[in-house]
C-alpha cells in the first residue's frame, strides 16, 4: 500500500475513533465507530485480504453496530441529557484500563518483529482467504475459538436470564 493512502486511512481511523469518545450524543458515537470500522476494512482490503475486509463490515458494522444503534434508539438514550463521565475514581479506572490495553497492543506489535530492521517474510499465496482463515480457526486456534464460542454462549444465556427477570417483576 502506498504511504499517502495509508496516511489518509489511518488519519480517518484515528479521527473517527477520537470522535467515538468525544461525542456527547451516543448515536453519533456509534456512527463514528462505524466510520472507524470502515477505515479498518479498507486497510484490510489494501493489504489484499478481501475476505477479512468483508467480514469486518458484515460482522462489526452490519451486525454489532446496528444492534448498538438499535438499543440506543430503543432506550432513547441521550436525547434528554448528554453522556458525561463523572467522579475521579471512574476516570482513574478508565485511565488504568487504557494504559493496560496500550501496553498489551505495544507488546503484541513488538512481538511480531515488524518494527525490527528485517523486512517481514513475504505472505504465502492465499493468505487471508476464507479457506486459509477457516483452516487456521479449526486447527491451530481451535481451543481459543471454542473458548470464545462458550464465552459468547454464556453471555447470551446471561442476557436472556436478566431480561426475563425484569419482565416477571
Amino acid at each position: 500500500m502506498n504511504l499517502a493512502g495509508f496516511a489518509i486511512l489511518s488519519a480517518l481511523a484515528i479521527a473517527s475513533a477520537l470522535s467515538v469518545i468525544l461525542q456527547r450524543n451516543p448515536v453519533m458515537s456509534a456512527l463514528s465507530l462505524v466510520v472507524t470500522i470502515f477505515s479498518l476494512a479498507v486497510a484490510f482490503l489494501s493489504l489484499g485480504t478481501a475476505f477479512l475486509a468483508a467480514v469486518q463490515v458484515i460482522v462489526y458494522a452490519g451486525a454489532i453496530m446496528v444492534l448498538f444503534v438499535f438499543v440506543i434508539m430503543l432506550l432513547d438514550l441521550g436525547r434528554r441529557e448528554p453522556f458525561r463521565m463523572t467522579g475521579l475514581s471512574r476516570k482513574l479506572i478508565g485511565l488504568a484500563a487504557a494504559a493496560a490495553f496500550f501496553a498489551q497492543v505495544a507488546a503484541s506489535i513488538s512481538a511480531t518483529g515488524v518494527l525490527g530492521a528485517k523486512p517481514p517474510a513475504p505472505l504465502s499465496p492465499g493468505y487471508g482467504s476464507a479457506a486459509d482463515i477457516g483452516r487456521a480457526i479449526f486447527t491451530d486456534y481451535l481451543y481459543p475459538f471454542e473458548a470464545a464460542s462458550v464465552l459468547l454462549l454464556a453471555a447470551m444465556v446471561g442476557a436472556l436470564v436478566m431480561a426475563k427477570k425484569r419482565i416477571e417483576r
Binding site: A54, I58, A61, F70
Partner: protein
C-alpha cells in the same frame, strides 16, 4: 483487470443507466400488474399505456417542497436517505450479467467488478442499508417514525441471519464466494434443483429483507402512519422509495445469480438470459404482492426465528453432509 479507464467508465455508466431505468420502470410495471390483478387498468393517462408515468412521478417529487422538521437532528436527517440509497446502488457493482464477450476486437466482461468475495460484498452492502432506516426514524424526532424504524430494524436484523444461512448451501456447492464462479458452477444444473429449500428460504428471507408483502410491516400505514419515512418529503422521500425498488432489483438479480444459473441458458448464453430470468423474478415478487395479505408483527418475528432460521440451519447441515459424502463440485 487491465482494462483501460475508459472501458470501466463506459461499463459503469451503461450498467448504472440500465439499473436506474429498471428501478424507474419496475414501479410502472408493478402498478400495471397490480392493477390488472385487481381488475383495474393501472396508470394509462401519461403517454401510451401510461409509459411516461415514472417521469411524471419524478417531476412531481422534485417539485415538491422539501421539509425538515425543526426538532429533527439536522444533518443525520439529511444523511439517512443517502445511507439507505447508496448501498442499494453499490450492490449492483459485483453482479455478473454475462460472460466475457468480444466487442470491437477486445474481450469485455459484462459486469462492473469481479471480486472474489462478491457474495459477502452484497451482504455487507445490504446490512448497511439498515443504518439508513434506523437513523431516519431516530433523527426525525417523531414517535411514529421511531416506532416504524425500530420495527424495520428489528425485522431486517432478524431476517438477515436466515438470508445469510440460506445462501451458504450454494457457497458450499460452488466452493467460492465469487458470484462469477458461482454462476460458472451452475453450467450443467442450476442450483435451484440442488438447493430447492435454500431457494425458498432465500425468497422468503429476502422478501422480508426488502420489506415486501407479506412482510411489509414497516409500511403498515394503518398503525404506523408511514413508518420511518413519515417526516420525509420530496427527493429525500424519493431516495427511500428508489432504494426500496433498487433492493428489489438487486434481490431478483441475486436470485438469478445464485440459484437460476445467471446468464446461462439453453441455445445461447448471454445477458439476455439474465434479463429474462430477472424479469421473471420481478414479476413473481409483484404477483406475491398482489396476492398475499400482511403478517402481524408477532407472527413475523415467530416465523423468522422459529421456522426460517432452524430450517436454514438444517438445510446448511444437510448440504454440508452431502458435500462431504459425495464431494463438492456437484
Amino acid at each position: 483487470m487491465n482494462d483501460p479507464i475508459l472501458l470501466h467508465l463506459i461499463r459503469i455508466s451503461v450498467i448504472l443507466g440500465i439499473f436506474l431505468g429498471c428501478v424507474a420502470y419496475i414501479v410502472w410495471v408493478e402498478r400495471k400488474v397490480l392493477g390488472h390483478i385487481q381488475i383495474r387498468v393501472g396508470p394509462k393517462r401519461v403517454g401510451p399505456y401510461g409509459l411516461l408515468q415514472p417521469i411524471a412521478d419524478v417531476v412531481k417529487l422534485v417539485s415538491k417542497e422539501d421539509l425538515t422538521p425543526p426538532n429533527a437532528h439536522q444533518w443525520l436527517f439529511r444523511l439517512a436517505p443517502v445511507i439507505a440509497f447508496v448501498p442499494a446502488l453499490l450492490s449492483m457493482a459485483v453482479i455478473p450479467f454475462g460472460d466475457t464477450v468480444r466487442i470491437l476486437g477486445r474481450d469485455v466482461r459484462i459486469g462492473i467488478a469481479d471480486i472474489n468475495v462478491g457474495l459477502l460484498y452484497v451482504f455487507a452492502m445490504s446490512s448497511m442499508g439498515v443504518f439508513g432506516i434506523a437513523l431516519a426514524g431516530w433523527s426525525s424526532n417523531n414517535k411514529y417514525s421511531l416506532m416504524g424504524s425500530l420495527r424495520s430494524s428489528a425485522q431486517l436484523i432478524s431476517y438477515e441471519v436466515s438470508l445469510g444461512l440460506s445462501v451458504l448451501g450454494v457457497v458450499l456447492l460452488a466452493g467460492s464466494f465469487s458470484l462469477r464462479e458461482i454462476v460458472e458452477a451452475q453450467a450443467r444444473l442450476p442450483f435451484v434443483v440442488l438447493q430447492p429449500v435454500g431457494f425458498l428460504l432465500f425468497i422468503m428471507a429476502s422478501s422480508a429483507e426488502i420489506a415486501r408483502i407479506p412482510f411489509d410491516l414497516p409500511e403498515a400505514e394503518a398503525e404506523l402512519v408511514a413508518g420511518f419515512h413519515t417526516e420525509y418529503s420530496s427527493m429525500k422521500f424519493a431516495m427511500f422509495f428508489m432504494a426500496e425498488y433498487a433492493n428489489l432489483v438487486t434481490v431478483s438479480a441475486m436470485a438469478v445469480t445464485l440459484f437460476l444459473g445467471g446468464w446461462q441458458g439453453p441455445f445461447a448464453d448471454g445477458p439476455h438470459w439474465f434479463a429474462v430470468k430477472a424479469a421473471a423474478m420481478l414479476f413473481f415478487f409483484i404477483w406475491v404482492r398482489g396476492t398475499l395479505p400482511r403478517y402481524r408483527y408477532d407472527q413475523l418475528m415467530r416465523f423468522g426465528w422459529k421456522f426460517l432460521l432452524p430450517l436454514a440451519l438444517l438445510n446448511l447441515l444437510a448440504t454440508a453432509l452431502a458435500v462431504v459424502i459425495w464431494g463438492g463440485e456437484a
